[in-house]
Amino acid sequence: MTKKPFVYDANILIDGEKLGILSELMNCAKPANVTDLCLDEAASAEQLQEEVQAGKLNVVEVGDKLLAITEMDVARGLSTEDRSALWLAEQLQGTLLTNDGVLRREAEKRGNQVHGLLWLIEQCCLNNSLTTEHALELLDEMEDRSEEFRITKELVRQVRARIEAQDSRPQTGEDVK
């Protein structure tokens, strides 16, 4: 069975780098793709280059599709990079991974599957890319810096409760589908 690809936007890559879990994310949500425009926007995340070189993050050059991307009929408040992530998710019929509310809303409006970093951490736990203990530490950090991660504390608490509940169940070790 072909697995649905994942498309990362720049925000989630930067957040993943901040938490030091890029590698774990790529092990979990794969195959991982990013447009060259989003990669460039997240370029300050040094660990990213290692993931690219290791072949864990596939960089898709937008190339001559720039025009099509700029002409997408989407909300004005999206950047060219946001559009490129949305475009790639639609091209690959994949799941868009973003921590940006505006991009998320637009993607859902267009019928795309979208998830954020909290969901991803939860999935990492489910397939053992992250230990429960590590995931809970990350959630604590995100709760402390909730504004920076653009999430509500309540949402973090909900995910924490689910992970703690999950911890008592048998684990399958499967990849995210």
Partner: protein, 351 residues
């Protein structure tokens, strides 16, 4: 072809004062000057990798290449020294245009546009007394009473005037005034001290509101009237009389420094102002100016004012757009001219 790309690329290149060849070089050799020329003629579009290289070379965001050019500058009037060359002026105007375009896009996304109305449009200002009266009327219309203005730049923004602080401007550029599709625009040198920013902004406002820009022979007089208006906005004649305790034969620099701190107006402008409203005679005025020159105070008065002059409306709109879910973080970073990482950190600090 994209409808705006060719024009935008050329405008960005011109703003940086680069030739086609220099841009090709600055882009790291990933594109030839011939190819750039074809992009600018609208004959072809670059690939994404070439666009990224061009954006880096021009210190632009990708969105800057695709934004509709809706903003135009008209009736541009400079407050500058003669040494400010045409090329540098074009670069300054280019930066202001670019910032105005980002501003206009932000207003469009957030649906927050401030209309402008000139409350003194019917006044004819032909001499100093009329300039004084115009300032008095404007202060009244804007509800300022006779108190010091805390933040001139913010005041102008609140009344529909776009204020752009020009970064990395040369020392011989103080400010400019212009119109942009019915909106007044004031550009000022961001590096100047706050008292100079305040005076310059109000001087430029005078050009816009009083409609004084005439031919060569009138220009010097117009500049004087704009200075008079700016001084009267900063410290009204009655307030100055009260502070000076009537006409004077002598005064100390310490008195003027105290007034500077309270009213946010330079010591030099205060001396002119005192002469303009008849509180000191020509002799005292000359003596004070000699003192200023002898002590090199005309270059640096050495005393900062407490008034923090900062434009705020753009950032306010930006954070409003982020909070209300109207604008993505990536878009906000581009409009603000910072990296996405930087914006995320800034938001974390602010909230």
């Amino acid at each position: 072809m994209h409808p705006y790309f060719a024009e935008r690329l050329k405008a960005l290149r011109m703003r940086h004062g680069l030739s086609l060849e220099q841009l090709a070089e600055a882009a790291g050799g990933v594109v030839s000057k011939q190819a750039i020329s074809r992009y600018e003629k609208g004959e072809m579009m670059p690939s994404s990798s070439v666009l990224l290289a061009l954006a880096k070379a021009l210190n632009a965001s990708l969105d800057d290449f695709f934004r509709e050019p809706t903003v135009h500058l008209q009736e541009v009037n400079y407050r500058r020294r003669a040494s400010l060359g045409v090329k540098r002026r074009k670069q300054i105007e280019g930066e202001i245009l670019e910032r105005l375009e980002r501003y206009a896009e932000l207003e469009l996304i957030t649906n927050k546009h401030l209309p402008f109305e000139n409350p003194i449009r019917h006044m004819h200002v032909g001499d100093g007394d009329a300039a004084e009266l115009a300032a008095e009327q404007l202060r009244q219309s804007w509800g300022l009473g006779s108190d010091p203005i805390q933040n001139v730049l913010e005041l102008l923004e609140e009344h529909g005037c776009k204020v752009i602080e020009v970064q990395n401007a040369p020392d011989n550029f103080d400010g400019l005034s212009a119109w942009s599709d019915g909106q007044p625009v004031v550009g000022i040198n961001a590096a100047f001290p706050n008292d100079r920013k305040r005076f310059t902004a109000l001087h430029e406002l005078a050009h816009l509101l009083l409609g004084l820009d005439g031919e060569h022979e009138e220009r010097k007089e117009n500049e004087r009237l704009c200075n008079r208006f700016a001084g009267a906005m900063l410290i009204p004649a009655k307030a100055l009389e009260r502070e000076f305790i009537g006409e004077r034969k002598h005064f100390s620099m310490q008195e003027l420094r105290l007034l500077k701190q309270h009213w946010g107006i330079s010591v030099q402008a205060l001396i002119y102002r005192a002469k303009d409203v008849g509180l000191i005679d020509d002799q005292l005025f000359q003596r004070a100016n000699q003192h200023i020159r002898r002590n090199d105070l005309h270059r640096n008065e050495g005393l900062e004012i407490p008034h923090q002059e900062r434009t705020q409306r753009f950032d306010q709109l930006l954070y409003y757009g982020l909070s209300e879910g109207l604008i993505s973080y990536s878009k906000a970073a581009h409009l603000r001219g910072v990296s996405l990482t930087q914006l995320q950190e800034d938001v974390g600090k602010i909230l």
